[in-house]
Symmetry: C2
């Protein structure tokens, strides 16, 4: 039909073929399971929001968002860039229907218009769990315990949760001697320490985008950040910031979180206080954290979040404390793949019933139905190959585990030929025992 | 913080709160399970496509789609309006990675810019399963058998799958006497028969948007449609269209599908031939179907689809046959809710450990962790209520099934107080037996 349309995606967008999706769905089931046992409930919010809801009128956000429009509709709409702002909107709009503490999870796509680069996509999946309506450090700790449980359940090897508190960072201007107005630039720069190292961070702090700080101020910041290397980093910070009340509040909160974590069964080696963790987003107000794989620190944080007590206030006069986590599934998948922790899944249903003898075509379909009703994922062949040989070659290439042959010969004897393609073995089985045999072969193969 | 943003959504968009989401997730698990046992594999495609991919250059489509844009990006992008066009794009673009027949399912949001009205949303979830690369009527039948299995597994009461074939409809211009060029308008009008009845359809056929047909032609169309009331509708059509080869091909295909359906275990009462089923979308080329709930026909089709052998050809020179189904989850949910077939789910995790005695706070957290590790969805209380009485009132209001009390008194005796809130009963249980007891209570309560 005339002109062909180029079947390509725009840069920054991608598809997931079955082999990858089977593994991703397995990970999602695990994550959802962890969220559920921790008592979180599913929420599903609109992917399209009014622009004003996302930006709060802040023009800085507009660079990052995708606008959505249709002919004849004047309202300014956009695709959500995270799952946290929609949650805050729902809490403000539906407050009479939601008991607090409200614990919800949401798993869904989000979009950011960042420059497309290797491994960075403009459409990506987030898995969030948040507690709304508790200001207790017990709820901070529960979020961290959930991070630990998710990483453990996914069999992630050697990871550490790095924890800090924005209140400690809020003491930094007083301690280092720079005005509060430069906080945003300074935090954004410090946040790069993990990836870029101190020399690069120090240089940026001198530049306008880093706050244009003096050498003396930068040395004070270094002194603060170096406390991570002390034998007891939190005690070191406590000493440095002893005179700064807001920072001391932050220190006390982390101490309290530590005690809760112990009670919640999170081993001490799984988390650490790290004063350089700031998190870029403006809305955090208390505890913040990142989760790194020790074998792949360059992949960045696999699971991040923190406390944001002010976000709902953008939408209503309520003051609602909140704390949450977000798992970056795409990044985590790439990392676990690199560490060879993604179980290799077949690309197929495990079983296929061939279809080469017109005399038994319907009997083969009935056999397929019986397998399916026994819970076995089964295909019935209706491709272009007509011969047994051609269909066997297809089944081998397509990597089916079990192949079933029921031609007129077998039908007469009430038997089915069962081929285990992985072991290159075969046997003849009475028709009524086929499901059981296939179940056994598939279970052994796993 | 100064000006508040109104926390409302744009019209046609919505959120799903936990109560509804728990039921929806249950339905999705059921649908996904049916797709998997039929040998379909997961695929996940980008939600944002290049506009040209969606419209194929056809300006008629542009009215329905939401455009997506960002500052500085000139490429025309849009949100997908179904999951079929993206599948065709993937098959064309990734043909070397995909074995055919390729059976995939995809569950995801889609968008259409139709006028927002009661029960009609602009963002909605679709659950699709398609077979690409088989032209056999066995694959048509497998799709219908999957529809039957999905509806059965969801415990949908009294439904019927109405099946037709575009090839039969393609004989209609010859039979009724109108030019091929009017087919599109005529089919779109006939498609409304179920909802609007014949009088309204006949009137529309006289109008320009219905094809501006003469009374004589309209009577011939009625004669064709009336065959649905014959004792054997397919035989009636076979008689009327005996001289029209393309229509006879369609009749033979439906006969063949019927035989496969029997072999696949689909009972005869579950499907029927209906010559009025046309399906609006232009891309169907063979079998088409809709699925109605007999108790709620006015809700329209719960699950629809058909054969579309030409779609991949929009993107490449390959000729690739394809057939598929799409479950409209939102509509099905509303219908099953109306028929009281949605199991009422609690709005909460089933169990909560209270937290009123500062002396045993950590012990209560450890107990919560033990429950979770035993697979029990458990909350730990960290809301604002400090007294036992206040927390019990909260737990009753929030509808927890089981409440656990572990204060200093209980701790001294190594016991936990277990309250079954549904039966208003309580017992003291040794600490180490709590998980087992809670499991039993929750299982009994289901």
């Amino acid at each position: 039909m005339s002109k062909k349309v180029d079947p390509r995606l725009s840069s920054g967008f991608r598809d997931y073929l079955p082999e990858e999706m089977i593994a991703r769905e397995g990970m999602l089931d695990t994550i959802r399971g962890a969220f559920r046992t921790f008592g979180f409930l599913p929420l599903d919010t609109s992917m399209v929001e009014r622009e004003e809801v996302l930006t709060g009128g802040d023009p800085n956000f507009k660079k990052q968002i995708f606008n959505v429009g249709m002919k004849g509709k004047k309202e300014k709409l956009a695709l959500r860039f995270d799952l946290t702002v929609p949650l805050a909107r729902v809490v403000a709009a539906r407050r009479n229907e939601l008991y607090q503490p409200f614990k919800r999870y949401e798993i869904g796509k989000t979009w950011r218009g960042e420059r497309a680069q290797a491994g960075r996509f403009r459409e990506f999946l987030q898995c969030d769990a948040d507690i709304v309506g508790s200001e207790s450090t017990a709820s901070d700790a529960e979020i961290l315990a959930l991070v630990y449980e998710v990483m453990r359940a996914l069999e992630a090897p050697r990871f550490v949760i790095k924890v800090n508190n924005r209140k400690i960072l809020n003491g930094l201007p007083v301690f280092a001697g720079f005005p509060q107005s430069k906080m945003h630039n300074v935090l954004r720069t410090i946040d790069k320490l993990d990836k870029q190292g101190w020399v690069s961070v120090a240089k940026e702090l001198e530049r306008p985008d880093g706050g244009r700080l003096s050498k003396a101020v930068i040395m004070r910041i270094k002194k603060f950040l170096d406390s991570v290397n002390a034998r007891a980093p939190l005690a070191a910070v406590e000493e440095l910031f002893a005179d700064i009340p807001v920072a001391m509040e932050g220190v006390k909160e982390i101490e309290s979180i530590g005690k809760h974590l112990e009670a919640l069964g999170v081993p001490e080696r799984a988390w650490v206080f790290d004063p350089s963790i700031a998190r870029g987003l403006g809305y955090y107000t208390g505890m913040v954290f990142e989760t790194l794989l020790l074998d792949l620190p360059e992949f960045g944080s696999m699971c991040s979040g923190g406390r944001y007590d002010g976000l709902v206030a953008n939408f209503s006069n309520m003051s609602v404390p909140a704390v949450g986590l977000s798992v970056g599934l795409d990044r985590l998948f790439s990392a676990l793949e690199k560490l060879k922790r993604i179980p290799s899944s077949g690309t197929r249903a495990e079983t296929i019933v061939l279809n080469f003898d017109p005399e038994t075509e319907y009997e083969c379909e009935t056999l397929t139905t019986e397998l399916r009703r026994a819970g076995i994922a089964a295909d019935f062949y209706y491709g272009g190959e007509k011969t047994l040989k051609g269909q066997l070659a297809y089944a081998a290439k397509a990597d089916y585990h079990v192949v079933l042959i029921l031609g007129s010969e077998e039908w007469k004897k009430n038997m089915v030929q069962v081929k285990d393609m992985h072991r290159h073995s075969q046997e003849n089985i009475p028709l009524r025992e086929v499901s059981k045999t296939v179940e056994r072969l598939c279970a052994e193969g796993r």
